[in-house]
C-alpha cells in the first residue's frame, strides 16, 4: 500500500469531487438546518448566560459577579421580580441570597440557596451561571463552602428547549450526511462512469482507492460536525472528547457509506436507498426531539452511540466517566463495521469493472 498514491487519490477527491451536487447538498443541508432551527428556536448571537440575583443583604459575591465577563448579571429589588423575570425567560437562572450569606460562608456554616431556573434555558447557560456563582463563593471564602442549592424550575414543564432538542438531530445530520453520502455517491459515480476501472488498472490498489474515499468522508464529516457544534454554541468544553467522538462517528458514517455503495450500481439506486436509510441514521435524533417517546428506543440505533455522548458533553457537561460506556459500545460497532466493510469492498472489483 502506498501512502503517496492515497494522497494522490485523496487530492483528486477534494479537487474534483467537491463540485458534485451530493457534496454541496451534504455540506449545505446541516448548515441550512442549523440556521433554520436557530432562527425559529434561538439565536446565533445568543450571548452570555443571564443570571438574576436578589440579595437581601449586600453580599460581596454580587460585587464579584458584576466583574465577570462570562455572565450577564441583573440585580432585582424583590424576590417576586426575580421570579417573574425567570418565569418569562429573561433570566436563565435567578438566585436569592439571604442577608447573612457572606458570614455563613466565611464561617463554613451550612447554607441554603434558592435558585430559580427557567425551564427552557440552555443547559450550557445554566451550567455557566451555576459555576460562576460557585467560583465566586470559593474565591471569597477560600474553601469549598457547604452550600445546598434548591433548584426551582419555572416555565416550560419539560425543561428542554426546542433548540436543544434539535441539536442531536443537527449533529447527526452533519456527521452522517457528509460522512455517509459523500464517499458513497463518489464511489457509485465512479462505477457508473467506469472511472473505477481505469484507476484500478493502474498500480493503485483497491484498498488505496477505498481508503482515499473513506478519508474524504471522514475529513468532511469531522469538519461539518465541528462547524455545526460551533454554530450551535456546543463546541466549548472537553474538546478532546468531542473530537474523538466526531472522529469515531465519521468512521462509522464513512464505512457505512462505502459498504452500501459497494452494492449499488447507479446514482438513482443509491439516492433512493439513502432516503430509505434515513430512519436508521437519524432515528435517535427523532427520538430526542420528542420526549414523549421512551428514550431507550434511541439506544436501538447504532448512531445513538455517536449522538448521545456528544449531547451529554455539549449540553450537560458530561465527562469521560459519564460517556465511556457509550464509547465502548461505539468502538465495538465500529470494529464490526470496519471488518464488514473490508470484506464487502474487496468483492466490489469482480462486480463492477
Amino acid at each position: 500500500m502506498s501512502v503517496k498514491r492515497i494522497g494522490i487519490l485523496l487530492r483528486k477527491e477534494f479537487g474534483h469531487g467537491t463540485n458534485s451536487y451530493f457534496f454541496i447538498f451534504a455540506v449545505a443541508a446541516p448548515l441550512i438546518f442549523t440556521v433554520f432551527v436557530n432562527l425559529i428556536f434561538g439565536s446565533f448571537l445568543e450571548g452570555k448566560a443571564k443570571l438574576g440575583i436578589f440579595d437581601h443583604g449586600s453580599s460581596r459575591v454580587v460585587a464579584s459577579l458584576r466583574e465577570m465577563k462570562s455572565i450577564d448579571l441583573e440585580e432585582f429589588a424583590s424576590e417576586e421580580e426575580l421570579r417573574g423575570s425567570v418565569e418569562r425567560g429573561t433570566r436563565d437562572v435567578g438566585i436569592i441570597l439571604q442577608n447573612d450569606f457572606d458570614s455563613k460562608i466565611a464561617n463554613g456554616e451550612p447554607t441554603t440557596v434558592t435558585a430559580y431556573i427557567w425551564g427552557e434555558s440552555l443547559m450550557k447557560n445554566r451550567a455557566i451561571a451555576a459555576s460562576a456563582f460557585m467560583h465566586q463563593i470559593r474565591t471569597i471564602s477560600g474553601k469549598e463552602p457547604p452550600i445546598d442549592i434548591t433548584p426551582v424550575s419555572l416555565g416550560e414543564k419539560e425543561g428542554v428547549p426546542w433548540k436543544d432538542r434539535f441539536l442531536p438531530m443537527i449533529v447527526l445530520m452533519a456527521i452522517f450526511i457528509s460522512g455517509f453520502v459523500v464517499p458513497a455517491t463518489s464511489l457509485v459515480d465512479e462505477k457508473e462512469k467506469g472511472t473505477i476501472g481505469a484507476v484500478l488498472t493502474t498500480p493503485a490498489t483497491q484498498a488505496e482507492f477505498f481508503i482515499a474515499k473513506g478519508l474524504m468522508g471522514i475529513i468532511v464529516s469531522i469538519s461539518m460536525g465541528m462547524l455545526t457544534l460551533i454554530l450551535n454554541h456546543a463546541f466549548n468544553t472537553r474538546l478532546g472528547l468531542l473530537m474523538l467522538l466526531l472522529f469515531l462517528g465519521a468512521i462509522m458514517a464513512s464505512c457505512g457509506g462505502l459498504m452500501l455503495a459497494a452494492y449499488m450500481k447507479s446514482m438513482a439506486s443509491i439516492y433512493s436507498t439513502i432516503k430509505g436509510l434515513g430512519i436508521i441514521l437519524y432515528g435517535p435524533g427523532i427520538v430526542a426531539i420528542f420526549p414523549q417517546i421512551p428514550q431507550w428506543v434511541g439506544k436501538l440505533f447504532p448512531t445513538y452511540y455517536v449522538m448521545n455522548p456528544i449531547f451529554e458533553i455539549a449540553r450537560k457537561g458530561g465527562s469521560w466517566s459519564t460517556i465511556n460506556r457509550d464509547i465502548y459500545v461505539l468502538i465495538g460497532i465500529l470494529a464490526v463495521l470496519i471488518a464488514l466493510a473490508g470484506v464487502i469492498t474487496s468483492k466490489t472489483r469482480q462486480y463492477e469493472t
Binding site: H16, K193, T195, A198, T202, P203
Partner: protein
C-alpha cells in the same frame, strides 16, 4: 520479435450460466501487434479484462511479461496501458488534469503532457474540461491516457471507434510508433482494414472460442479466394457484374470467354478481406 509478452493457456470465464470465454489459448510475442477480432459478445472484452487483471479466470493461466496476472496483478498493471472500449475519463477534469492524474498514479517522473497531447492531436484542447470535448476527442484522450506510462504492453479496445478518418489515421500512426518504441500491442477492433493494416497476427474469437489465429496474409492464403471483378455492358446498354475466381483450373478459359464474348467496361482483382474469412469460418459477420 522474441519472447512471449502474453501467454494464455486454456482460460475460461462465465457470467453465471453464460460462458463468455471457453478455454482459449494463444500467445503474443514481444513487440508484436496482435489483432483480436470478433463480433459483439464474442468474448473480446472479457478476455482483455482477464489479461489486465480486472477479472480472474475461472480456469486456466495467464502470464503477462512473465508474471501470473491472477497473483501479481499489481505488478502487471504497473507495466501496461489500457484504452477501454467505453469512455471512462473524469469529465469534470481537464484533459491535462486527467493525464497528469494517471501519470502520477503510475509514478511517472518528468511527464511531458504537452507532447502526449500533441501526439493525439489535442494540444490546443488540453485545458478544456473533458465534458466539453467531442466524442472523437475523448476517444483520442483515452488513447493518450493509455500511453502515459510508456508501457511495455498496450491493450487497445476499439481505439479508433467513432473517429473521423483523419483522427483514426493519427491513432493508427501512434500505434505503429508504439511498436517502433518496442511496445507490444493487443488490439481489438471492428475495422477489418485497420486490423489487416496494423496487425502482425490476428485471432478470430467467436462464442468464446478462438476459431482462427495467424498472420492476415496466411489467413487469406488459407481461407480466401482471389477473384477478378468485371463490369460489362449488355446488348441493352445496361451494366452488369461478372466474377471470375482466380487460381482455379478454369480461370484462363473463363477470362478468355469474358473478353471474347462480353463488352468489358472495368476489371480489377480483389483479395478476400478478413471479414469475408471470418464469415466463411463462423457463418456470421463481425458486426453482428
Amino acid at each position: 520479435m522474441s519472447a512471449d509478452a502474453i501467454r494464455v493457456d486454456n482460460i475460461r470465464f462465465s457470467y453465471g450460466e453464460i460462458t463468455a470465454v471457453n478455454g482459449i489459448s494463444f500467445h503474443v510475442e514481444e513487440g508484436e501487434i496482435f489483432g483480436f477480432l470478433g463480433p459483439n459478445g464474442a468474448g473480446k472484452s472479457t478476455t482483455i479484462k482477464m489479461l489486465t487483471g480486472q477479472l480472474s479466470p475461472k480456469d486456466g493461466e495467464i502470464t503477462v511479461l512473465g508474471l501470473d496476472v491472477t497473483r501479481e496483478s499489481g505488478a502487471v498493471q504497473s507495466q501496461i496501458g489500457i484504452c477501454f472500449e467505453r469512455t471512462n475519463l473524469y469529465e469534470q477534469m481537464s484533459a491535462i488534469e486527467n493525464l497528469k492524474f494517471f501519470a502520477s498514479l503510475y509514478g511517472v517522473k518528468g511527464f511531458d503532457v504537452d507532447r502526449l497531447l500533441a501526439r493525439v492531436g489535442l494540444k490546443d484542447r488540453g485545458s478544456d474540461r473533458v465534458s466539453s470535448l467531442s466524442k472523437g476527442m475523448k476517444q483520442r484522450l483515452m488513447v493518450a491516457r493509455a500511453l502515459v506510462n510508456e508501457s511495455k504492453i498496450l491493450f487497445l479496445d476499439e481505439p479508433t471507434e467513432g473517429l473521423d478518418p483523419t483522427s483514426a489515421n493519427n491513432i493508427r500512426n501512434v500505434i505503429l510508433e508504439e511498436r517502433e518504441r518496442g511496445a507490444t500491442v493487443f488490439l481489438t477492433t471492428h475495422d477489418m482494414l485497420e486490423a489487416d493494416k496494423l496487425s502482425d497476427r490476428v485471432a478470430f474469437i467467436n462464442e468464446g472460442e478462438i476459431v482462427a489465429l495467424d498472420t492476415p496474409h496466411n489467413l487469406k492464403q488459407r481461407y480466401g479466394k482471389r477473384i477478378m471483378k468485371a463490369q460489362v455492358k449488355t446488348d441493352s446498354g445496361e451494366l452488369e457484374d461478372r466474377e471470375i475466381v482466380m487460381d482455379d483450373t478454369s480461370t484462363a478459359k473463363d477470362m478468355h470467354e469474358l473478353f471474347s464474348n462480353e463488352s468489358v467496361v472495368t476489371i480489377h482483382s480483389e483479395e478476400a478481406s478478413l471479414e469475408d474469412i471470418f464469415i466463411q469460418i463462423t457463418g456470421r459477420g463481425l458486426t453482428g
